[in-house]
Amino acid sequence: MHDYSVAELAQGLREGRFSSVEVTRAHLQRIAALDERFNSFISVDESAALAEAEQADARRAAGEASALTGVPIAHKDIFCTRGLRTSCGSKMLDNFVPPYDATVVSRLREAGAVTLGKTNMDEFAMGSSNETSYYGAVRNPWDTDAVPGGSSGGSAAAVAARLAPAATGTDTGGSIRQPAACCGITGIKPTYGRVSRLGMVAFASSLDQGGPMARSAEDCALLLNAMAGHDPLDSTSSTRDTQDYTAQLERDLSGLRIGLPTQYFGEGLSAATAACVQDALRELQARGATLVDVSLPHSELTVPTYYIIAPAEASTNLSRYDGVRYGHRCEDPQDLLDLYTRTREEGFGDEVKRRILVGTYALSAGYYDAYYKKAQQVRRLIRQDFLDCFEQVDIIAGPTTPGPAFALGAKSDDPVSMYLEDVYTLAVNLAGLPAMSVPAGLVEGMPVGLQLIGQHFDEARLLNVAHQFQQATDWHLRAPGGID
């Protein structure tokens, strides 16, 4: 049962071939049996999950089923879940049980999804390897000595290991796409503003975006149908109408123009990864697409731009963790300053502290213009590069990462080299564009991803291209060994 996709589960439930309780129990059993190896979940509440499954079955019996009724999914532990601990991978929120649901969670609940549990992640989503989690590193199901990518590494590993058919993730600089690539699954970061940020613990407000992670583009479309849409409680949520993201999946690719940025195929990209991406592109060409060379001239500035803006926003988003109203509080504070400084020293891990300090510095008097304002200006140039490309092409394609997942510990002492892992994914967040990663091959047994970047609010087109690719290939169906 764990090999079923979301679409297959939804259909099976609809046809009464199995119940939600059966499906949910099967996944819970797998989590209990296998997750010791991957550490992909932080919190699992079996009885709550089974109770939700029972309610789903009851609703279906009553003829009140919706699209995902009874389908179990996992949530990244960044989404607040009412009554279920939401840690964001941090000691700071180790004891935090929200009295509310994130909009993404409530929308998926309304669509009928059952919550299996909360997945592991880099602390406050700051990381590309899942090694910064307070709950320990997640291991890549394809090779447990390798990282799963980050920050949504728990979600990616859980889906890859067939512990959950799908999971939610968030993407601030690649945190859905990079782990999806590393774990051989499919993930989409929607356009900024397409999915509500309410109840999603903030990392960098102008970059954060939630999205689905699953095994196929079709499954992602089914989840995105439930997740996307205007939220009046999020000022940055778009009021544009959503679409049925499954409606265009079967559209053929003839006439599609795919832009290949020269900067994404140059130095730094591993040859084997490049070969997988080229094979994938040939496949798309075979299905009618035209490949066009394009240029994103400010590409080399994306890493520095991102590593000013994201830490700057994070440094103030994380000021609320002060030990006063919720979360960690140090023992016996001597005075107010001690309460703040020790609570935050103890509650945050090294990478989070580093980013808070960098961000504080970038915003501080005398440096604002040189760092933050400058980065905001370059950000506009980076967005303009994409808008210029989209004058010529419908989508942009390239690698998701420079290479397959690296070994645990390989980069954990070297933040700058870790940051360069996201060299192909960061620009999309700066520009607010939708993008996805699709499994595109194996390099020495480890998955690599093809990244597809779309125009603002053109998620349907991306999902269409990815689905067509997945009709022609079976990379998305490959599973790591030893998980049965």
Partner: protein
């Protein structure tokens, strides 16, 4: 040396919205601690701000009320600092692009002159919560009910020269914002709080000295006293050849002094940057014109109209236009009696006197405008004298009915019956032979003075009800 003080005021005005500026929690004053702080106000993880339309409207009303430029595109910024009453660790405020730009504001001074005070800007921001310093086992208690209440911060140019002007400005501001209905302006509840920036310079120069900021002064009287003692403190320092330190001070009303605050704290670096959870607020001309069309006649306009239309002095026009309720009351009295100057006099002297003694507002006056107008009408038609009218007013204040009812019930109507008056005059002349002789012996000039004695006697006999004009005429006729 003679010093001139240079004063600028920053007023934090709580706007009269029913919900918070960025959340749907209520803003009612005086609720049990933390019962009006929702997840957004508490900065729970993942919570986001959404801007209240009414707060924007209030700000635009204010901007139009002082003839200021309205920011067509205003931006919210984060002002970062840690304090327990600031749950997010930043205050959402406006820094580079405020909603209200430069404007001017005319104030009337006690001597009848007017002055124009420049308004540098006004911007929207959220209020913080409150720290309660009662001892909870050595801890302070934090109440976040007030956190997120909409504030308009109104900043003046350093145009103010003394405490009286500062108070006149604040009173005029209070009047404006209550006219506009954008705030209750209640200083005692913290709806209007004032920070005072003050420095001294040698009189006649135009350099700026080092300023001190006195935070959170919460009554007109304290503003006046805080400025007076800060001027004294700074001039003492400067006279002794010392230097004023740029710092934040607190006014201690009990000791009537200002003292330094947070001096040991690290210098703040607020790290302002555009709030990424909010988008630019765009206001178009249609919106502005619709708000403009909804504005009432403003206090300054009303003052000018009162002076022109009713011939009142600037001072009287200023007093009567101070609040919309008082101005409406005055105009209703004037309409009812037909004599605006009499109406102005009665409202200011008798009515406001009684209201002040009873600590009542105009809305609570036991005497309606129509009834006061009715009373004045009886003076004007000679039914009663001004003196009797004051008695009647006392009875009206005590709720004994309208002027006519009281005059009737107590038989206070002026005696204008010539027969009855003649009898009284004859009696007074008969009873006061010596004074009559003196009167008859006097020349024309002295007679005018002496006749007052006889009038007084007649009034006494008539218990004040004789028509003084007729009495005068009769006496003049008979004393020959």
């Amino acid at each position: 040396m003679a010093w001139e003080s240079v004063i600028g005021l920053e007023v934090h005005l709580q706007l009269a919205t029913v919900s918070k500026i960025f959340s749907g929690a209520p803003t009612t004053f005086g609720a049990a601690p933390n019962t009006q702080a929702c997840a957004v106000d508490l900065a729970m993880p993942g919570m986001l701000p959404v801007l209240n339309a009414e707060a924007v409207r209030c700000a635009v009303k204010f901007g139009l009320g002082i003839g200021a430029q309205i920011g067509h595109r205003s931006v919210f910024d984060r002002k970062n600092y840690f304090y327990p009453d600031l749950p997010k660790g930043y205050q959402i405020s406006q820094f580079e692009a405020p909603i209200v730009g430069r404007g001017e504001f005319e104030i009337a001074l006690e001597d009848g002159s007017t002055r124009s005070i420049g308004i540098t800007r006004a911007h929207l921001e959220e209020d913080a919560g409150k720290s309660l310093h009662e001892d909870y086992h050595g801890c302070s208690g934090i109440d976040l009910n007030r956190a997120g209440t909409p504030l308009l911060e109104i900043v003046t140019d350093p145009d103010i020269r003394n405490a009286q002007e500062a108070v006149a400005y604040l009173k005029a501001l209070h009047s404006l914002v209550t006219y506009l209905g954008i705030s209750d302006g209640d200083m005692s509840q913290g709806s209007m709080r004032c920070d005072i920036n003050i420095s001294l310079r040698p009189a006649g120069t135009d350099t700026l000295g080092t300023r001190a900021e006195i935070k959170n002064v919460n009554s007109f009287r304290f503003v006046e006293k805080a400025i007076a003692c800060e001027i004294e403190r700074q001039s003492d320092i400067l006279e002794d050849g010392g230097e004023v330190v740029q710092e934040t001070r607190l006014y201690d009303a009990e000791r009537d002094e200002t003292r330094s605050m947070r001096s040991k704290e690290v210098a703040n670096d607020y790290r302002y940057f555009p709030e990424p959870d909010l988008l630019p607020v765009v206001i178009d001309d249609d919106y502005i014109e619709a708000v403009r069309a909804s504005l009432p006649e403003l206090p300054v306009e009303k003052r000018h109209r009162f002076a022109a239309q009713y011939g009142l002095s600037t001072y009287d026009a200023g007093v009567l236009s101070d609040s919309r309720e008082l101005a409406d009351y005055f105009e209703a009295v004037a309409a009812a009696c037909g004599d605006a100057k009499m109406a102005a006099n009665w409202v200011q002297v008798e009515l406001l006197g009684q209201l002040n003694r009873s600590e009542l507002g105009i809305a609570d006056s036991p005497v309606s405008a129509a009834d006061l107008g009715g009373l004045i009408a009886r003076i004007l038609d000679n039914s009663i004298s001004g003196k009797i009218a004051k008695q009647v007013f006392e009875h009206m204040w005590q709720g004994q009915g309208s002027a006519d009812e009281i005059i009737e019930a107590q038989g206070l109507k002026q005696v204008s019956d010539s027969g009855a008056l003649e009898a009284m005059v004859d009696q007074v002349i008969a009873d006061n032979g010596a004074q009559v002789e003196q009167y008859l012996a006097a020349d024309e000039g002295k007679r005018k003075k002496l006749i007052g004695f006889f009038v007084g006697q007649v009034m006494k006999v008539s218990k004040g009800q004789a028509n003084p004009k007729m009495v005068n005429e009769l006496l003049a006729k008979k004393l020959t």
